[in-house]
Each structure stands twice: as structure tokens, then as C-alpha cells.
Symmetry: C2
Subunit: 326 residues, 2 copies
DNA sequence: TTGAAAGCGCTAACAA
DNA sequence: TTGTTAGCGCTTTCAA
């Protein structure tokens, strides 16, 4: 079933059938009716690949994220996807598994598909993929971070400021002995460093740090707390690089009869949907992932449709969510 | 930059350049070298859309899931995506938000893209979309359920048997007064019904049921437990339609000083990655989502490449994971 | 408002 | 092993 068949059946030229389907306003109501009838009768589904090739607009947007399971980025991806779909776009999803090589391979494959836009969870470091991407001319949104040198558009926030804000929050609560639990992730490192600087500036001791590497699990959170107990038993506040790690710390503390937050404050990052209803409720840093997804989609669509984007760079900020655990 | 340009630069015909790029073995090493040099020099990235149109193979697979945030299906999607990528395929992801209309719209849009295969989280009910999909001839994998009338291929398991197995497990533990907490989902209903039948067959009383509708949150689990306390205070075992709801029940029980599992057994469904490390560890029904994703990818690829699929229908089963909470 | 002609960039089918 | 020709199914451009 092709447009040809439908056109023949409706007794019009293919291009007229195309117009009836895509821009119904540009066609007489008589023709419109005939074409619609023909479409109905044949069960015709337009071949978007052919359309894309002819118009060089694919109506596809690609998104690349490190992980899709229990990942802080999924709220962003979901909102991105929904906003795109409502505007007639489809989402291609790739996952880099926190690997630079895989990200480059993914990007190479994605560029070949000629998407109308690319969403990146994070910022792309200089390298072959970045060069290629810039050369491709495809609109890009980088996200979840800030940089002076974005490829194109950027919807993010400052990890540095988060580190500072969390440190201040804990100091305000009267805490003095800090520890950090983080996964292998450059952004988490920056939050941790900013946190340490504030602590140091306040004349507090060194921050005891546990790095769990790629093991971003609740179990790692529990194990990390045991290490903290051994290496820095006086610790009274812990900043974790994810809510899951924070849940692990809280779980282990409770299992050992250490009261959260009386004896120990715990802060996470990301605000998982159920953090508010845990016992104790999880204090954390909230990022509005949905906002990021929606703003990215809007900008990518605007670009795809030839419109100028007013605010290509946005700092969406964050909020410290003070709940039971800190 | 098109294949033409590369071919001209290498001093060969376009089709020869195409072969050098796609089937390097079918070309002399001399030509191969020249073409590779030209590709390198121009930074040429093949236009897969044009290739797809010409070959009627898109090397795209579409997946449709109800939700992508905190969803039990994401392990399947992640494995599906990785397996596909390693074979040179890309994933298009659509989310139906548990809405039949949206699912139909999604499917219509997806068919227009001419993917080489479609993965469905669940089974597609009869209707326009199902008819269209069958008419399209696109290979389909339905999943996470069993049916006598699959559209095409099927990788699933029996919700009925799960309901029975959970009931037996709780009865074996000496429990007598059951309640169920479920979200609005036809599959959860079937598990619940099977559960009730076993309870009834054992001469136990009616199963007190709380339906949380679309509110699949930890909070709903907590609230549901309060309702159970009011409506059926003698309850000593609760089967929840998701781990998140089960976590809510456990949280509320603990907050009220009710001991899990001594006084109350709680079972979830799905086996979230951190269930094993919670306190108490969550008893649940484990589905190997990764297996489903991998098997689906393999079958879809086989079909796309014209190979016959040996086992188009697979029951991957499930396991009862007896941990601390039951 | 409608249509004719051309072509998007690639690959299938055939021929040399 | 390499090349010629034709065409995938649609939309752009221009003309009527």
C-alpha cells in the first residue's frame, strides 16, 4: 500500500493525496473526503522513512542516557518522550552504560539515522564524537550539568552549588563530622569537592570519603556505612551521591540501632519518587527532571521546525529537600 | 556528504563504495583501502534512512511499555536495547501510560516508521491496533504474559500460576488471613483471582482486597495497609501487585510497631534490584526481565535477517523469592 | 487548488 | 570483483 495506490483510488495525483493527508487545509473539502475514504478503505499507513528522505526531516529525536534501570534520568526521558510524541515525534533511546567508548559508538550510529535532534543526559567531553556531532549540524541539548562550552543548547544546574548547599544545610543542623559516599561519576566528584571546600572553610575536619565505583546499589550504601563506622566512627552526617546509596546507609544505621536523624544525618541526591514516604523520609537534593525533559523537547522541536530558540541555555536549579533523615 | 562524493573521491562507483562500507569482504583490498581513506577524509556518515528505504530494512526495533519510570519492565528494555545495539540495531521507545488509546496511537505511529520488529510489554488486546499490526507483517514479540492467541511471538509467564504459588507459599508459612493490595492492571487482577481461588479451596476466609488504581506509589502501599487494618484487622499476610506497594505496606506496619514477618507476612512482585538488601529483605516474585529482553531481541533480529525462529513461544517462568518479609 | 517532473541517498538486480 | 540501471515512497519545486 503506497501513496500511489491511495491517490489512484481517490482519482487524484499522489502529491494531492499527500497534501490531503499532511495538510488537510490546503485541499478542497471534496478532495479531502475522497482521499480520506481511500485511506480508510485501504488501511494505508504512510511510509515515514520515504517521507523523511524526501523532506530531510525524520521527526525522530535521539536520547542517550547512561542507564535506564533505576536511573535518575528516567523522569526526564519519560517527559521528553511524551512531549515529543504529542508533537508527532518519536524517540530513539540509547544507553551508554557509563562508558565513553559506547557513548561514541552510539552517537556515531545515531547520527547516521539523521535525527532532527539529540538529547544527551550529561555533557559530552571533547573527542571524536563531539567533533562529529558538531559537524553534523544536528540540534543538540546537553543536560544535567552546566558548562561554558556547550555543543549547542543546555538545560542543567550546578553540581558545585549543590555540594555547597548540602554542606551548609548539614552545618546549619549542627553537624560537624562529615562523610561522603559516592559512585564513580565525575559530577558526583564535583559535588563532593565543593562539599569538602565548605567544610574546610568552616574549620571542620577532613571529610571521610567512600567510593563505591560502579556499584550503585543499596547494598553498597550499607557496606559504605560499615566502612565509615570503622574509618571515621565519629561521623554524624553523610552525603551520598544517590538516593539509593542513602537508603543503604539509613538501612544499615537502623539495623545497628543508630538513630537517623538523631545520631546521624543522611542526605541523598535525586529524590526518588518514594523518598518522601519512607521511614524516616529521605532528605535529598531534588532536581526537576520532568522540567528538563519538557524544556529539552520544546527546544528540539522548535529547532526541527525552523524556529529560533529564545533561551538555549537554562539553569533549572535544584532544591534541598529537608525531610526526616537530615 | 553522500556516498556519491566518497565514491568519486575513491575513484569507484557508488555501489562499490557502498559494498566497501557494508560488506568489506566482497571487495578487493585495494578498493577497500581507497574507500576507507575517502570516508576518513570526508567524515562521511552513511544516511541510514536512504539505505533503509532502498533495502526496506530499517534496522530499527520499536518497544512499547506502559511506563519508563520505576517500572518493572525497564530491565527488559535495557537488555533488549543492549542486545539490539550490539547487532547494529537501534531502539525506538514508546510509552503508553497504561492507556489503550495511547497505545493504539503509538502503534500507528510506529508502524509508519517501518521498524523491522516490535516489542510489546504485555499482550495486545483485540482492536484496531492489533488488526493493523497483524496486517503490517512486522515481526512482533508480546511478553510478560501468556496467551493462546499471540499476534506472533511470545516470551512470557503465567500470572495465574504466580497467584497460586504465592498463596501456597503463604499458606505453607502458616498464614490464614489474607489481604491483597493491587494497582489497576488486568494482569494483577488475574494473579489476585488465582490467589483467592487457592485460599477458598483451602477453606480460608475471603481475601480482603484494596485497589489503588493508578496510584502505584509507596504512599499507596502505606495507605492500603491502614485500610486493611480497619477492614480486616486479623490479616496476617498481604500480597501486593508490586514491590513498591509491598514496601509501603512494610513501612507502615513497622511505623505502627507491627512486626514483619512475625505478625505479618508481606509479598511483592517484580523483585526490585534493592529488595534483597532492605530490612527486612523483601519477599517477592522474581521475573527474569533480562532474559525476556535478550530472547526477544534475538528473535526479532533473526526474523529481520530472514532466519527462522525455532522457539517463537517461550514460558520463562518465575520464582518465589522467600526473604525476610515472608 | 491541483498536478508534472525531478530527486532525496541509497541498494537490489542484473550484466560485464 | 566491479559497474549500470532502476527504483524504494515520498516531498519539493515549479507550472498550470
Amino acid at each position: 500500500m503506497t501513496l500511489q495506490d491511495v491517490a489512484k483510488l481517490a482519482g487524484v495525483a499522489p502529491i494531492t493525496a499527500s497534501r490531503a493527508i499532511n495538510k488537510p487545509d490546503s485541499v478542497s473539502s471534496e478532495v479531502l473526503k475522497k482521499v480520506q475514504a481511500a485511506v480508510e478503505r485501504t488501511g494505508y499507513v504512510p511510509n515515514r522513512m520515504a517521507g523523511s528522505l524526501a523532506s530531510s526531516r525524520s521527526r525522530m529525536i535521539a536520547a542517550i542516557v547512561p542507564s535506564t534501570v533505576m536511573s535518575v534520568f528516567m523522569q526526564t526521558v519519560e517527559t521528553l518522550n511524551n512531549t515529543l510524541f504529542d508533537a508527532g515525534y518519536q524517540l530513539m533511546l540509547g544507553q551508554s552504560s557509563y562508558s565513553v567508548e559506547r557513548e561514541e559508538a552510539l552517537l556515531e550510529a545515531v547520527i547516521g539515522r539523521r535525527p532532527d535532534g539529540i538529547f544527551l543526559a550529561g555533557i559530552l567531553q571533547p573527542g571524536r564524537a563531539r567533533t562529529r556531532l558538531m559537524a553534523s549540524g544536528i540540534p543538540v541539548v546537553e543536560s544535567w550539568d552546566l558548562t561554558q562550552t556547550p555543543i549547542d543548547m543546555l538545560i542543567g544546574f550546578s553540581h558545585l552549588e549543590i555540594g555547597r548547599a548540602v554542606a551548609k544545610h548539614l552545618i546549619d543542623k549542627g553537624r560537624k563530622h562529615f562523610a561522603i559516599v559516592l559512585a564513580g561519576d565525575e559530577r558526583a566528584d564535583r559535588r563532593a569537592t565543593a562539599f569538602q571546600q565548605v567544610a574546610r572553610a568552616q574549620g571542620l575536619g577532613e571529610v571521610f570519603t567512600v567510593n563505591v565505583g560502579d556499584s550503585r546499589t543499596l547494598r553498597s550504601g550499607r557496606d559504605s556505612f560499615i566502612k565509615i563506622l570503622q574509618g571515621a566512627p565519629q561521623t554524624d552526617a553523610i552525603f551520598c551521591s544517590s538516593d539509593l546509596l542513602a537508603m543503604g546507609v539509613v538501612t544499615e544505621a537502623k539495623a545497628r540501632g543508630i538513630h537517623v536523624p538523631k545520631t546521624l544525618s543522611v542526605m541523598g541526591f535525586g529524590d526518588v519518587p518514594f523518598g518522601a514516604d519512607m521511614e524516616p523520609a529521605l532528605s535529598t537534593v531534588r532536581i526537576n527532571g520532568g522540567d528538563i525533559g519538557r524544556m529539552a523537547a520544546e527546544r528540539l522541536i522548535d529547532r526541527a521546525e525552523g524556529r529560533k530558540v529564545d533561551k538555549p541555555i537554562v539553569d533549572v536549579g535544584f532544591s534541598i529537600v529537608a525531610r526526616g533523615s537530615a
